[in-house]
């Protein structure tokens, strides 16, 4: 105890650790919300947020045909285009249609298979 009171190096006792953690916890619990509150209105982050809150999914990736590579839409290949396009400026309150909600069990079966099943862009092209 005496050694600790004199500030000798070594392992930190539990009460010292607890004190440090207490200060870290209360400061962090104020600091991070403050940062979020401040930068929530930053124009830079607004642009990013607007880009993230696009109202609809990007175009689907066309599957690769025989002898042709898969086509990746520009909005995926070049995400920065989103920020410059009209989609980026859309408000976040606009309803975003979910493709999975389009069909109900009472709907007639889809001739092309169930929605939502897309070939992965990383998947190898189907064998000819």
């Amino acid at each position: 105890m005496a050694a600790r009171r004199e500030g000798n190096p070594g392992r930190r006792p539990a009460d010292e650790k607890a004190g440090i953690l207490f200060l870290v916890a209360i400061l962090a619990s104020a600091f991070f919300p403050a940062v979020l509150a401040e930068f929530d209105s930053a124009a830079l982050l607004k642009a990013v947020a607007a880009a993230m809150a696009q109202p609809k999914l990007p175009e689907r990736i066309a599957p690769a045909g025989a002898g042709q590579p898969a086509t990746i839409p520009e909005t995926i290949a070049y995400p920065t285009l989103l920020a410059e396009g009209p989609i980026a400026t859309a408000t976040t309150t606009e309803a975003s249609p979910d493709p999975l909600d389009v069909l109900s069990p009472s709907d007639p079966p889809c001739p092309q298979g169930p929605p939502g099943l897309l070939p992965s862009p990383r998947a190898p092209p189907p064998l000819a």
Binding site: G7, L23, V24, I26, F31, P33, A34, E38, S41, A42
Partner: protein, 414 residues
């Protein structure tokens, strides 16, 4: 225009609060030095109450606030002598910042700032400087450094015209005093005597409490009236100090393994100095961030200063210089148009990075760097010149005996 009694009453109280900071600083510094040098450093603060007021009456107010860029001042750097000896400061005159407040109140309020700023520097050369040299330094520093900076920032000079903002003195008071302290440390060198350590932590605590109390007048009063911004500046002042204190305590606890009272007090002062330029321009969450960053930056600066072997006895540079410098730059980040009153003059807006504007950050950074260089160089030059007239530094023998007895023939403790 009829007098605004509420604002005038508030400004008179704010003026008294800022006046009270100088004795508070004397206690703060007095506690930090050894028993044989208490009176000397306290007197260096108190004497500013007298000498600075004399200079302010003769030419100080005029050099700060008469003329503006292109209208009779000296190239936007310093005012003229039209209002020397308070000529033109009449009973019915309105304050330049708020016509509802009499000009007399404005003159008194600004004078209190002039009194405390050179007193801040004295912490850097504690135990080493002769009293006659200090008196010369006080007058020369006010005329060559402080008055021009006030004119440039608050008196319609160069920096004001360029769009630089400083709510309550981050540039004018803290950056200038801090970098002048740095120059003083380099000029006078290290202390030789063993009377180095602090002699009374309770005195330091008392001084901090008075400083903190007075800082409400310093920052909230800089709105020059009572409105919503006054409340914002008051609250931000408290937030920054209250977050900076525990942050310094935490760093102390981690690195020195002791939650030191002195560390907490120093952190509070660092937070107060850093929020000063921002107090009425930033939101409350920003004040929280600024308080935490203030302690981290000033703690690092003090650590580096100790590593470099510089004898900034009472950490004026580490706390006021770095704090004021950082706050000035952070205003360019956190200043927001959301924290202003509707219909206010657009030139008074400080809109920074959080609003998506980078130009204020550039201007604030340039102003902070320019002020630092200006204060540093002029202080060095001034000390060199004063040393030609009268010896600045005491001898080793005098230092060992303690300046209270040698310089003033008095002792704090018998």
């Amino acid at each position: 225009m009829p007098i605004d009694t509420g604002s005038t009453g508030f400004m008179l109280i704010a003026t008294a609060l800022v006046m009270f900071m100088t004795p508070g600083l004397a206690f703060f510094y007095g506690g930090l030095v050894g028993r044989k040098n208490v009176l000397t450093i306290m007197f260096q603060s108190f004497i500013s109450l007298g000498i600075t007021t004399v200079i302010w009456f003769i030419c100080g107010y005029s050099l700060c606030f008469s003329g503006s860029l292109g209208h009779g001042d000296l190239a936007g750097i310093v005012g003229n002598l039209d209002m020397a000896f308070f000529r033109g400061v009449d009973l019915m005159g309105p304050s330049p910042m708020n016509p509802g407040v009499p000009v007399m109140v404005f003159v008194a309020y600004q004078m209190m700032f002039a009194i405390i700023t050179p007193a801040l520097i004295t912490g850097a050369f504690a135990n080493r400087v002769r009293f006659p040299a200090y008196l010369l330094f006080l007058v020369a520093w006010l005329i060559l450094v402080y008055f021009p900076l006030v004119h440039m920032v608050w008196g319609g000079g160069l920096l004001a015209a360029w769009g630089v903002h400083d709510f309550a003195g981050g540039i004018v008071v803290h950056t200038s005093a801090g970098f002048a302290a740095f120059a003083s440390v380099l000029y006078v060198g290290k202390r030789k005597a063993s009377d180095k350590g602090l002699h009374s932590l309770p005195l330091v605590a008392l001084g901090t409490a008075i400083l903190w109390f007075g800082w409400y007048g310093f920052n909230a009063g800089s709105e020059f009236g009572v409105d919503r911004i006054t409340g914002l500046a008051f609250l931000n002042t408290d937030l920054a100090a209250s977050f900076a204190g525990p942050t310094w305590l935490l760093l102390d606890w981690i690195f020195t393994r002791k939650p030191r009272f002195l560390g907490f007090l120093t952190g509070c002062v660092a937070g107060l100095a850093t929020i000063t330029p921002c107090a009425g321009f930033v939101s409350t969450p920003s004040a929280v961030i600024i308080g935490i960053l203030a302690s981290a930056a000033c703690y690092l600066a003090v650590h580096l200063k100790n590593k470099a072997g510089l004898d900034d006895a009472l950490d004026v540079f580490g706390v006021h210089g770095v704090g004021g410098f950082l706050g000035t730059i952070l205003l360019g980040v956190f200043g927001t148009a959301a924290m202003t009153l509707p219909g206010r003059d657009p030139s008074l807006l400080a809109s920074g990075l959080v609003d998506g504007h980078a130009d204020l950050l550039v201007k604030q950074s340039v102003a902070a760097c320019g002020t630092a260089v200006y204060a540093f160089l002029f202080t060095l030059l001034m000390l060199w010149a004063i040393n030609k007239v009268t010896t600045v530094r005491v001898s080793e023998k005098e230092e060992l005996a303690g300046l209270d007895m040698i310089e003033h023939g008095e002792e704090a403790y018998v």
